[in-house]
């Protein structure tokens, strides 16, 4: 028996490891690059901080990092230098710094010294403030995390005291309780669990909410009396690295005894302790050295694509500037040569060449405006404005969560308009991450669960209501827990974001009732499965015929089917790793704590049964939500009464009372083995008891069971069952257990070797658990080997992917051949239906083992378990040996409901030319299922799956697939009906090969040929590598969207990272650029806001450059008339402020408010998104067109006044005045022409800009007597505005300069607009036109309507022809 125990223990251990590997399975050869310390010193030694080896501790731990984290870029002191340093990374800023300095050189000085500093100062200040605010936000978050409290052992006080996270050091002992978050990477030394295990939830780390098992360090101080003082061991482990699944080392106990350490001993930072009362661990990695932190590749400064393009254009401007300055320099030299020693010659000594050289620099200062200084600031501001509108969009507001979109990156709005690849996480991003049992098929009979489906729909409304309630509750309280508003779902997993103790407490108080502390996946929706009436009826037959279960068969339905149904639900209930706990006492393993409560529970149960059977009205308690669910149950009950056999209703309440008392007795008895440590004998004896009891029960009237089974008491029972919490490794399991419970097949408890299950009509049973063959991705199934509680046979229940189970399900008995094949056929059919509906399908099968058979297998299994070499293979082999000749019981369909509008969104995005990839840690089938459900995968698409085990195989496979695709393409080209496209499905292991240098190319090529790619079982690092590969190699804009911490690195790598706030904590949100609450918001975000932002920004940049070139050229032309001396005809203040103030706001408004296409058109026609991406606004062509126009306008703007004033007595500034004024008008009106929409804001800003200019120059020329030498404006402008000539010149210049633009726009707008837009207008106009035409046709024969119809609308012709003919 001892050996047996050990085997089981081992099995558990393997299970835990395997479940980990499922998510992180890097091939062994994978080099982990990002662990620089690994090279320097290979190991780290950890000693207890307050242990006996103080000195050694000091010596070793000196270089280990503390646990405080710091993600800010700057500190208070370093902000100014660092920020300046950062800012001067921008070439433009450097350039202006250079200019400002240059102006201090006397020989080249062009303006007053301070003037050239202004633009730079303004830019630096504005951006500095922005950066400071951003960093401050980061700082506050760090502070919050660092100041979380945790109990750490203090050497002086010899006890655990509260300390901040940041004060935790390597070597500290940390004691954690259930639901606490682990502050650093700990080596588990003690667990209150008698078996020395502890469960952790890694949601914060990898986004998966399942529970993982962790094991106390073996051979150690495990026992009730672990004390830090007695810890004298030394831990040797590897240096910090980012591999979550790897941890190697050993612990050396006092007696030179070494014990190995592996990853199942390690508690990772930011995971949550579950189901374990207390654990104690010693810190081995802290702070930035923890695996969690090392997996977060730090934040990347994202530079928008447009800005990169902009930089090339700025370079062009620089080139232009240099040409201009060279012209001036050469010109000045030549000019000086012709004039020697004349009156206006100031210093004759300087040689012309040198003077020319000086003039070159002077000109650079004078023409500095050519490089759009204010552009960079303007872009920042425009983006802020754009973000303001994105943030305020009602369509991106989620009412249920009361959350808007959060824009966290402020500088990449326009990249939203250029996305070509979208990488999406699956769970929680596309789906709700709420698994709900949907329907099932047993014995080849489908139970559609119509009511259940309806419930799911109703749930939505209910949820709204609930959310609303939660919100009001929350808003009523103080601001502490406000940040967790998005977690209004009733989960106890307190995310990192909200992990202050107070907030979690508060949350509890808020939500009040028991539902709060439900474990993972116990959302209300998943729990309340409404049973299918037909199935309930059959089950009730079972209970009624429980008497005859073994003996005579077929009362109303075949006993075979009944057995199937019972087995099916039994399998659902037990074939899993679900841990049962109750919300108030999650530490289900602690017997002492549990005992009194259990009896209390039973008292309650008894009471409720009593009250129910005496027809007292059920108490309505709890929240409205539970009330609703009760209403539901009632509605259901009423519909069931119809099915009840008539004789039932005649019975009184007396027998029922009796019966329920029986049940209670039974339960108390059965409960015994559930507590504490059990001996097999005890279990056996209790089983005997049980059988006795069953007989007693069977003696009683079956009718009561019937009643009970019919869900009539579901109401009362549900209240009790609510106390049960299932914490599962995967949400599917939880969903299935809940589904089983809905049929009163309730899993009540679990211990290492037995399970306590309620069965309808039978009551609680102890199922002896012999083996668990855990899930693995190769077998794609899991099995439990149990001793059947009723028959006593050894039974294998297997649950797994349909593909494998169907193959394994063989018919055994000759005579039943027909019925088996029928069941298979039917089930297969149902499976297809489920898959089409996008349900996650699982098949349930069983196998009855003969005792001898079992013995034989057991031997092999034990052998396999105890073998050291190729243990894995042996185990696999053993499992496969067992899982043969299965009897197919049925299948289930579980829905992980897609979020609303996901298929529509994906469809729209694909129409918009965005390639959607799914990168998920989930298994392949699920991923494909979901891809199916969200219409990423259509029936016409061809699936290419890449799963292989070695690099060579992978390379060959990729080649093969590639050639297949190419072949197909060629074929399609020839056949011309290219309807099918390819979807590549690749799993994590293969992906790892494919991402290696040699195979990258073919992988890229293949994936580019596919419409979509689904990467399953991928690790966070792989996700980011894939994104990086696409981003870098194809050079396209990528967007990554995810909700969990496992998506963080992907989000950070992508050009645009989007976090979905919701179920999985805040990690993804914290690292994202935009955080939305639903996937569907992407549609508007990209199609409308992205499109707008891009257009706005691109147009604004073009306009800005135009503006600068146009203005600067005026100064340049003047050089031809002032001896190329760098003289200006405009006041230097006006010159500098012209760009910075007078003409800076209208472009901002233009960049923030312009709408080239209305929002609803953009939503309706996703093609426009793609079109605007391919025919980019911001392309070299447009740039040069704008440059040309700027040249033309500046020529007009300079030379018209020139000719008008040539030979007159106009002074320099009097000459500059009309030029400058017309330039202002031209620039402002140019924008009016370019704008697609003009609102009152535009108008106001334009008018104000002009007014500001006039105001400024007037006041300046009226009051500033001696300032601004040598371009003193005093008296000039005041005189100018009194002269008619000024107005005449300005009008002429403005009109003449704008004529070509107007002409171009007018022709362009009416003759050329984008094709999809036109088609839209056409569609809209078509109906209208048709009506009008009909009217006109009816009225007159000569259709002289003044309708304006597009000339090039071939699509319209047929319609009109029809009308006319």
């Amino acid at each position: 028996m001892e050996r047996f125990q050990w085997v089981r223990h081992r099995c558990r251990q393997l299970l835990a490891i395997d479940s980990e590997r499922g998510w992180y399975s890097p091939p062994d050869g994978l080099p982990s690059k990002s662990s620089p310390q690994k090279v320097s010193a290979r190991r780290r030694t950890v000693l207890a901080r307050h242990g006996p080896h103080q000195e050694e501790y000091e010596a070793v731990s000196k270089k280990y990092k503390g646990n405080s984290i710091c993600t800010t870029k700057y500190s208070l002191l370093t902000f100014i230098p660092m920020n300046l340093f950062q800012q001067f990374h921008r070439a433009a800023n450097l350039y202006f710094l250079f200019l400002a300095l240059l102006n201090w050189v006397p020989v080249v000085e062009a303006f007053e010294k301070e003037i050239t500093m202004i633009p730079l100062l303004v830019v630096l200040t504005v951006i500095g403030i922005k950066d400071a605010l951003e960093d401050y936000r980061r700082y506050l978050f760090d502070k919050k995390v660092n100041n979380n409290l945790v109990r750490v052992f203090c050497g002086k006080q010899k006890s655990y005291i509260d300390r901040c996270w940041k004060d935790v050091r390597v070597g500290d002992f940390v004691r954690l309780s259930c639901n606490e978050i682990i502050p650093a990477d700990l080596l588990l030394l003690y667990s209150s669990d008698p078996r020395g295990v502890c469960y952790i939830e890694t949601a914060n780390l990898d986004g998966e909410t399942n529970l993982k098992l962790r094991q106390v360090v073996s051979g150690s101080l495990q026992g009730a009396d672990f004390t830090p003082e007695s810890f004298h061991s030394r831990i040797e482990c590897e240096n910090p690295n980012n591999d979550l699944s790897r941890f190697k080392g050993y612990i050396e106990h006092s007696g030179e005894v070494r014990a190995g350490l592996h990853s199942s001993n390690l508690l990772l930072r930011s995971c949550t302790i579950r189901n374990t009362e207390t654990v104690v661990g010693i810190v081995v990695y802290a702070g930035h050295e923890t695996k969690a932190m090392m997996n977060n590749s730090g934040p990347r400064y994202k530079r928008s694509q447009l800005e990169k393009h902009l930089n090339t254009d700025v370079l062009w401007c620089v080139a232009l500037l240099i040409v201009m300055c060279l012209t001036a320099a050469v010109g000045h030299g030549l000019w000086l040569n012709t004039f020697k020693d004349v009156g206006f010659q100031v210093d004759g000594e300087t040689s012309p060449a040198l003077a020319g050289f000086y003039v070159f620099w002077t000109m650079i200062i004078v023409l500095q405006v050519l490089i759009p200084i204010s552009l960079y600031v303007s872009i920042e501001i425009v983006k802020l404005g754009q973000i303001y509108f994105i943030h305020n969009d009602l369509d991106l507001y989620n009412q249920q969560l009361d959350s808007r979109i959060q824009c966290r990156a402020l500088n990449i709005t326009e990249d939203l308009g250029q996305i070509q690849f979208l990488f999406s996480d699956k769970t929680g991003t596309l789906t709700e991450n709420k698994m709900v049992f949907c329907r099932c098929s047993i014995y080849g009979v489908e139970y559609p669960h119509v009511e259940n489906a309806r419930r799911l729909q109703v749930y939505e409304a209910e949820q709204n209501e609930a959310a609303g309630r939660t919100v009001t509750l929350k808003s009523a309280c103080s601001g502490k827990s406000l940040s967790c508003r998005s977690l209004s779902c009733n989960r106890s997993s307190v995310s990192l974001h909200t992990l202050t103790a107070e907030s979690s407490e508060e949350e509890d108080q808020l939500s009040g009732h028991a539902a709060v502390r439900t474990g993972a996946f116990c959302s209300r929706m998943a729990k309340d499965v409404v049973p299918d009436p037909e199935l309930v009826r059959k089950l009730s037959c079972l209970s009624s015929s429980a008497l005859h279960l073994k003996g005579s068969s077929s009362a109303s339905l075949s006993s075979l089917e009944l057995t199937y149904i019972t087995d099916f639900f039994l399998a659902l209930a037990i074939c899993n790793n679900v841990v049962v706990s109750s919300p108030s006492q999650p530490r289900h393993m602690v017997a002492e704590a549990r005992a009194p409560l259990k009896s209390l529970e039973e008292m309650k149960l008894m009471f409720q049964r009593l009250s129910f059977y005496s027809f007292s009205p059920p108490q309505i308690k709890g929240s409205p939500r539970s009330f609703t669910s009760k209403l539901f149950t009632r509605g259901k009950t009423s519909s069931f009464t119809f099915n009840t056999p008539p004789n039932n209703s005649t019975d009184g309440s007396d027998p029922a009372l009796e019966c329920s008392q029986d049940t209670c007795k039974l339960k108390t008895k059965v409960d015994l083995p559930d507590r504490g440590d059990r001996e097999d004998s005890a279990a056996m004896s209790s089983r005997e008891d049980l059988e006795n009891l069953m007989e007693i029960k069977a003696d009683g009237d079956g009718v009561k069971q019937n009643l009970e089974g019919m869900g009539g008491d579901g109401e009362s029972e549900e209240d009790i069952d609510d106390e049960l919490l299932y914490e599962a490794e995967s949400p599917d399991e939880a969903a299935l257990v809940h589904a089983a419970r809905a049929y009163h097949c309730t899993l009540r408890g679990r211990s290492a070797e037995s399970l306590l299950v309620d069965l309808p009509g039978i009551g609680s049973l102890v199922v002896q658990l012999l083996h668990i063959l855990p899930f693995d991705s190769n077998r794609k199934r899991m099995s439990v080997v149990v001793r059947h509680p009723v028959t006593g046979q050894v039974v294998v229940y297997t649950k797994g992917a349909d593909s494998v189970i169907m193959d394994l399900a063989e018919t055994q008995k000759e005579q039943a051949q027909e019925i088996y094949s029928h069941i298979r056929e039917q089930t297969q059919k149902h499976l297809h239906t489920y898959a089409r509906e996008g349900l996650r399908t699982l098949c349930i099968a069983k196998k009855v083992l003969e005792e001898e058979e079992y013995e034989v297998w057991l031997k092999r299994q034990l052998l396999a378990e105890s073998s050291i070499e190729n243990q894995e293979e042996l185990l696999l082999d053993s499992a496969q040996r067992l899982e043969t000749d299965l009897t197919l019981l049925g299948c289930t369909g579980i829905v992980d409901r897609l979020q609303e509008d996901v298929p529509e969104t994906i469809e729209a995005l694909q129409e918009a030319g965005v390639k959607v990839w799914i990168l998920t840690g989930d298994k392949q089938e699920t991923a494909i299922n979901i891809a199916n459900a969200c219409k990423l995968l259509r029936s016409s698409d061809r699936l290419l799956s890449a799963n292989c085990g070695s690099r060579e195989a992978c390379g060959a496979l990729l080649e093969e697939l590639l050639s297949e695709v190419q072949h197909e393409e060629e074929r399609e080209e020839s056949s011309l009906n290219s309807t099918s496209s390819f979807i590549l499905v690749i799993d994590g292991r293969t992906l790892e090969w494919a991402l290696q240098e040699e195979l990258k190319g073919s992988f890229l090529e293949l994936s580019c040929k596919c419409k979509a790619v689904i990467c399953c079982r991928s690790t966070p690092l792989q996700k980011s590598k894939v994104v990086q590969l696409i981003r870098d190699k194809i050079g396209v804009m990528t967007l990554a969207v995810g909700d969990g911490a496992n998506d963080v690195s992907m989000i950070q790598v992508a050009d645009v990272g989007i976090g979905i706030s919701g179920q999985e904590g805040m990690q993804a949100v914290m690292s994202s650029d935009f955080a939305i609450s639903r996937f569907k918001h992407l549609k508007k975000l990209l199609l409308v806001h992205g499109h707008w932002c891009y257009h706005r920004l691109a147009n604004m940049i073009l306009y800005f450059i135009y503006k600068n070139v146009m203005y600067v050229n005026l100064l340049f032309w003047y050089q031809f008339f002032c001896g190329y001396s760098g003289s200006v005809m405009i006041n230097s203040w006006v010159l500098i402020l012209f760009n910075l103030v007078f003409t800076s706001v209208p472009p901002l408004i233009y960049g923030i408010l312009d709408q080239d296409t209305p929002a609803d058109t953009l939503m309706k026609l996703p093609e426009l998104y793609g079109a605007s991406r391919t025919t980019k606004v911001y392309i070299p062509f447009m740039f040069w067109i704008n440059m040309l126009d700027a040249f033309y306008q500046s020529l007009v703007c300079f030379f018209l006044p020139y000719f008008a004033l040539a030979g007159s007595d106009a002074g320099t500034l009097s000459f500059g005045s009309p030029i400058n004024t017309s330039a202002l008008f031209i620039i402002l009106l140019h924008q009016v022409i370019e704008s697609n929409t003009l609102t009152w804001i535009h108008m106001l800003v334009l008018v104000l800009s002009a007014a500001l200019y006039f105001g400024f120059v007037q006041l300046y020329s009226a009051f500033c007597v001696v300032c601004s030498h040598p371009t003193n404006l005093f008296g000039v402008e005041t005189l100018q505005i009194t002269q008619p000539l000024f107005y005449i010149i300005c009008t002429l210049t403005t009109v003449a300069a704008l004529l070509p633009r107007i002409l171009f726009r007018a022709l362009f707008n009416s003759l050329h607009s984008s094709a999809p837009l036109r088609s839209a207008q056409r569609d809209e106009a078509a109906a209208e036109r048709y009506r009008q035409r009909m009217k006109v046709w009816n009225l007159k024969h000569s259709g002289a309507s003044s309708l304006q119809v597009h000339a090039d609308n071939p699509g319209l012709e047929p319609i009109e022809d029809e009308v006319v003919s």
Binding site: T338, G343, L384, D402, G1207, A1306
Partner: protein
């Protein structure tokens, strides 16, 4: 950056912008002011937009901080975005899609207006009479040829001219220089505004901008300093009307030729009487025949820095070919203009321009409402106007061809 009188206006603009923004935002918010929900976000981009915009305008972080605080207190709306036309970007907008309907009539109108103005300008310009007398003396036949040699001092020459008709008044006399780069940068810089404003300190130590015309060889400060003042035009003219063989001088009015602002505000003599005291210890500019305080011996108030000819010179011409106002003929019988007849111009030739191939001329002109004679503007207006009209016709054709084919 804020100094000078324009700050008030600037700030007023900023404040008005801000308050407008706030008003707009506030109006939206007031509609549904429910309980405070205060989110955990610290940087609320939307809210901060206004703050940032303001910060740009007001350039004062402290202001910003206060504003931000005020804002947060006002922020009492629930998290739900306001459903206003502004925040939802549904503001009623005029879409200036330049279509035929707007462009063609618009062009016709503009064209016609321009043609009208052009005709007006052209006629006005045609009525302006201009008489230019080039007296550079570059050619040997010129009466002033003898004076063009820089070595000859105090040279005088006479030019005769004949007016066929009455030269309508008011007649103004300009002197014109060609190829003279008054707008050259270093030349333009080379003066000391404070000195010319009458600041006595700068008499002793002129601004470095004046270099090398700040001190003479003996380190005596030059007043007025700088190349601009130094190169002052110093030819003088006398106009005689030949009446019956005898010369009758036409009185030239030297008053009011400079800008009022220059004479009364920008340029000031030092507050010392007599003026000469202020110039103690200074020397006159190298090229000047006499010091600044004796520029006009006839009128005490036309001396020093407020001498009208000086002021005219100091206002730099924009282009290398320019003319500057010299005198006006406003007095006596010449108010109506110069009668037809023979005139004689006596020139005191001091200013040499041949070294840089310059030209000097005297220009007699009368002025219209639009200034001097300028045919260009009228023609330009006519051309642009006609272009507009032609373009509208072209566009009409284009539209007719592409836009309404089915109307035929």
């Amino acid at each position: 950056m804020a100094d000078g009188p324009w700050r008030g206006f600037y700030c007023a603009f900023a404040v008005s912008m801000y308050s407008m923004f706030m008003w707009k935002v506030g109006r939206g918010r007031k509609k549904k002011g429910r309980g405070m929900t205060g989110k955990g976000e610290l940087l609320h981009p939307g809210k901060d937009l206004s703050v940032l915009l303001t910060s740009l305008f007001l350039c004062s972080p402290a202001d910003c901080a206060i504003k931000a605080m005020v804002k947060h207190e006002q922020e009492e709306s629930p998290n739900r975005p306001d459903n206003t036309a502004f925040t939802q970007q549904r503001l009623p907008a005029w879409q200036p899609i330049l279509s035929a309907g707007i462009v063609i009539p618009g062009f016709v109108l503009i064209g016609l207006a321009f043609i009208g103005v052009g005709v007006g300008l052209f006629i006005t310009s045609r009525d302006v009479q201009v008489l230019e007398l080039d007296y550079t003396g570059a050619v040997a036949t010129d009466p002033c040829y003898k004076c063009s040699d820089p070595s000859i001092k105090d040279c005088g020459c006479t030019m005769e001219f004949h007016l066929d008709t009455l030269f309508k008044g008011p007649v103004v006399i300009y002197y014109g220089l060609n190829n003279y780069f008054q707008n050259q940068r270093k030349y333009g810089i080379s003066k000391d505004d404070n000195q010319l404003y009458g600041d006595l300190d700068t008499f002793k130590s002129p601004a470095t901008a004046c270099s090398p015309y700040d001190y003479d060889g003996k380190r005596n400060p030059i007043v007025p300093c700088g190349a601009l003042a130094n190169s002052m035009f110093n030819d003088t003219f006398r106009l005689y009307r030949m009446v019956n063989g005898s010369k009758k001088e036409v009185p030239l009015n030297g008053k009011g030729i400079a800008w009022w602002t220059d004479q009364n505000v920008k340029y000031r003599n030092p507050n010392e009487t007599p003026l000469i005291n202020a110039f103690n210890g200074t020397v006159k500019p190298i090229n000047w025949p006499k010091a600044a305080y004796e520029l006009d011996t006839t009128d005490v108030y036309n001396n020093g820095f407020i001498n009208q000819d000086f002021l005219v010179w100091m206002r730099r011409a924009a282009l290398p070919d320019f003319r500057k106002l010299y005198r006006r003929i406003t007095k006596d019988e010449y108010q109506a203009g110069l009668p037809a007849g023979n005139y004689s111009l006596e020139i005191s030739y001091n200013y040499h321009v041949l070294s840089f191939k310059g030209k000097k001329k005297l220009v007699l002109s009368n002025v219209s409402w639009m200034g001097g004679k300028n045919d260009f503007l009228g023609i330009a207006y006519l051309v642009v106007g006609s272009l507009c009209v032609i373009m509208s016709i072209v566009m009409l054709i284009v539209y007719a061809k592409f836009k309404f084919p089915e109307e035929d």
